[in-house]
């Protein structure tokens, strides 16, 4: 039953992406300054939103774990963090492609790119931390503590880097300026399939993490006999 739901969600996501792509590529006009490549924004921005959703859910799951000490919350935290990290990497790569085409450079210390890179580093650190702890309850506890620190740091990072960039202006891909309402709508419209994908990937990872936990326990029990 659960599997069917996941497959159905995948198909729905795929269908929505195709539907959106047809609109993005065929219907929406080119943007005034940026030409054709600006269309990458419809994946670039929702990917960032998905990444932050992941980090928020991870922080909430972490608090829930520390309060309830139920390892299910830990499994949820690592699942959404991993998926969130993937989306942040998608955001970075699409950003880099965009920059390469618009400005001819692969990287620039643009405020948004830089902040997202720092967030990616933070959550990559989270995953590294998990690898360094053997015992499941301790691993869950430590990762939960770090996840909370990381999430509280995220807005401070964004604000400080934004402030830093206003002092030393660098090339910026897209200004904060207003956007055609049709484009704005499309960003949200394209977020839906990405969210579906987010949910599916997290569910699969969550299931895998729970299975691993069970195998771990069985293995310990077998060794004790």
């Amino acid at each position: 039953m659960k599997d069917k739901l996941l497959y159905a969600a995948c198909l729905l996501a795929a269908w929505l992406v195709l539907a959106n792509l047809s609109v993005i590529l065929l219907v929406l006009p080119d943007e005034a300054e940026q030409g054709a490549i600006y269309r990458i924004i419809f994946f670039h921005v929702p990917a960032a939103w998905s990444a932050f959703l992941g980090f928020l859910l991870a922080a909430l799951a972490s608090v829930a774990y520390l309060v309830k000490r139920n390892l299910w919350f830990d499994a949820l935290a690592v699942s959404v963090t991993e998926v969130g990290l993937v989306f942040s990497i998608v955001n970075l790569i699409t950003g880099m492609i965009w920059g390469r085409i618009i400005w001819g450079i692969w990287w620039t210390w643009d405020a948004r790119l830089t902040s997202m890179l720092v967030c990616a580093l933070l959550y990559a650190g989270y995953l590294m931390l998990r690898r360094a702890v053997e015992e499941p309850a301790q691993r869950a506890k430590f990762s939960a503590v770090f996840s909370i620190f990381a999430f509280i740091d995220v807005p401070i990072v964004w604000f400080s880097i934004q402030w830093w960039r206003t002092q030393h202006p660098q090339p910026v891909f897209r200004g904060g300026g207003s956007m055609d309402p049709a484009m704005y709508k499309m960003m949200f419209a394209n977020w839906v399939p990405l969210l579906l994908l987010f949910a599916v990937l997290s569910a699969v990872r969550l299931r895998q993490e729970r299975a691993r936990s069970e195998i771990d326990a069985l293995r310990r029990e077998a060794h004790a006999l």
Binding site: G125, M128, A132, V145, I148, F149, I152, I156, S160, W163
Partner: protein, 226 residues
Amino acid sequence: MSFFRHAFQIAAKDLRAELRTKEALNASLSFALVILLLFSFAFDPTAEQTREISGGLLWLVFAFAGALILNRSFARELTNDCLDALVASPVSGAALFTGKCLANMALLVAVELICLPVFGIFYNVRWVHRFWPLLLTLILGTWGITVVGTVFSALTVNLRLRELMLPTLVYPLLIPALMAAIQLTTGLLAGQPLAAELTNWLKLLIGFDIIFTALALGLVETVLMG
């Protein structure tokens, strides 16, 4: 209040131990001085360039040197299972943490105050006339590094690859504080008054310190208790 008494007892113990062996202090100070000298040698910056990079260079040096001190902080309790004796004692996790922060802060600020004149000499930077605002920046910035570094020193103390995990986890978290400290230092050394733009960075640094001190105090007991 026993909280402060315990914190001071722990801080005094750590400082006495460190001053006796001087392991972390020597490692930290030599590392910092070597980097400062190597950098001057390798890049031979002009006066203009130096003015632009002064904050960044100093704070990167302080952050790296700080990791050596912070690593030792809880690691020194591992020999003979001393950490168990501390956790089982009436000292609260928050008091233990605060005591270690105070000790680490003292050590790191000492290293920084030695680096500052060395920097001044080898890079031809005048800093004495801005000493008091610089000291304020040093203290606020170092407190940020210390608070985050000490709580993660507690967290990573029993992990494999502790020396790798601590910087990996702590540096990204510290980016806002380091950035603020860097901007303040560069600005102050370039002669800017502590007003307007610089005060915004100062506020950011103070805000960071308050938020993360509160967070660390709240979570450290959880980290220390098995």
